[in-house]
Amino acid sequence: MAEDILAPLAGKIIKIHVAPGATVEEDDEVLIIEAMKMETPIFAPCDGTIKALKLKEGDEVEEDDLIAVIE
């Protein structure tokens, strides 16, 4: 079963902590989006493996953009 990580807000990805294939536990910090001078951490919604990373550090995202998939 796969679960998507979507951008909750528009901004810039300033840090990605995981690579494809990495194992994550629920609530691990996966990446950080900077917007309006604040850093918003994005957490893993479940235990699993990062199946795909759709974006890289420095990319701008819009709200609801797909960032990663956890399997």
């Binding site: 909750p8 807000l9 528009a10 536990e25 629920e26 609530d27 691990d28 910090e29 900077e34 917007a35 309006m36 001078k37 604040m38 850093e39 918003t40 951490p41 957490f43 893993a44 709200e63």
Partner: protein
Amino acid sequence: MRPYFEKMDSLGKELKKGEIKRTQENVEKVLGAEKEIEAAVDKVKNAGFSTEKINARGQMTVWQRLDYLVDEGTWCPLHTLFNPTENIEGTTNVIDGLGKIAGKWAVVIGFDNKVMAGAWLPGQSENILRVTDLAKRLNIPLVWLVNCSGAKLPEQEKFYANRRGAGTPFYRHAELEQMGIPVLAGIYGTNPAGGGYQSVSPTILFAHKDCNMAVGGAGIVSGMAPQGGFNVEMAEALVEKAKVHTAKPPGSVKTHYDATGFFRYVSDEEEGVLDGIKDYMKDMPAYNPKFFRVAEPAAPGFPDDDIMRLLPMDPKKVYSFDQILARLVDGGEHTEFRPDYGPEMYTGLCKVDGFLVACIGNRQGYLGKGYPEYADYPGIGGKLYRQGLIKMNEFVTLCGRDRIPIIWFQDTSGIDVGDIAEQAELLGLGQSLIYSIQQTDVPMMLAVLRKGSAAAHYVLGGPTANRHNAFTLGTAATEIYVMHGETAAVASYARRLVKEKEAGNDLQPVVDKMNELADKYHEKSRPLFCAQTGLVDELVSLTDLRKYMVAFTGSAYQNPKSICPQHQMILPRVIKG
């Protein structure tokens, strides 16, 4: 009103394993910063003579007196690091705080007899005025441990006169007494001149057998009229006079107990003075807590040291305010006011030690699509928008009506700016909040969890903008400034950069100035700076926040001047609908 308060809604949730793992670094940062604060506090405690030296003279230190006087586990120090004039002594030379004596809350203050025998120093009167204001706002007794050798004469020009100078506490004592707030004083040591008035201005005087208080001390009595200078012959005469007066200083117990009767009691032992105060405190006006409690006291819903994981030291990181609040209030329970309106602000009713309190705090993070409703840009927590300002205006007004003390939590970057925000009336709504707070005559306290910035620091219950803030706390993460240093550098130098660029000049010198300004802002917004200059009344560890909330709430409900029957409160009904 049991259905409203006995079991309120649950707030917060347990930390998950991933959260615990990734916040370990933050815990270490918090502990490191708190260690730095503790070191500064230790320096103040160790100022002046050693405890051993004072004890060898047959005296207790002010710290030992406080320890004997105040009920165990209740002492909440305030102004420990306050030293606005950067005295070389490292202190304003008074030690104060909130504590229970014989089971009742009091504001307690004592001269540090280890430092120049408790002399007046620059900044001290400002410290004392904060303390008299605190007793006034909380309507609880003020207890003094007087041991004051008078003015530090070489620096008298810095504090003797002026509207808030060293004599001001005397009329503030009179003011408290006129309001029915008792001032009890234990008197030790030699208290000439200013020390004499510090001694005589309270309501009931408990004297130690070796103390004295006088309009002028031996130093003045043995002096002479000015003769245009000094010579050795005059010095010889002074030696003889001084010997006599030092041996028998004016205003001893023989004078002020036996003759004038100003001293109500005299004790042979230092502890006897404190026992006398304890005995009087038993009779001070106070409601039994059950009169006001809405539920049995209960511990917070989750461990308080979780807060070290939940409050990021990095000011750019967002977090859940609700999670922190759940670790500060009884049972992690609350009733939120207008949860679907003004999402950037938490407003709700909670319990602290079984008493009803109102809590207001900045929520952090992205506020969701379509908010603020008046703008085409997204909203982020920490900022104030139209709905949040309206909600707080309503909430504090209802708290005033129901006589519910308010605890504010700040972590704010300011009020939304720009022409769209002006059209949304934010300037007027900010000032409306100041008006609402000022007319809400209940005690308030503030904890600046992280940022206190711009006008939002004023309108969110800040001590600058109302008479109801009893005290303001800072944490290891606190920073207070009008705006971020880099924002200030841009505001100050942007036009200059344009000019230099157009003139074809090197921009580096301006850039250097910008960095210099940003660095200065950083340095002058740190927790220790905030405490030293009085921007906060005390820096507390994150695990001590609850203790101060308990002290504040217990004090606020001890003897309030105005009460609202629980079953006649309107705010809980407004929330329920």
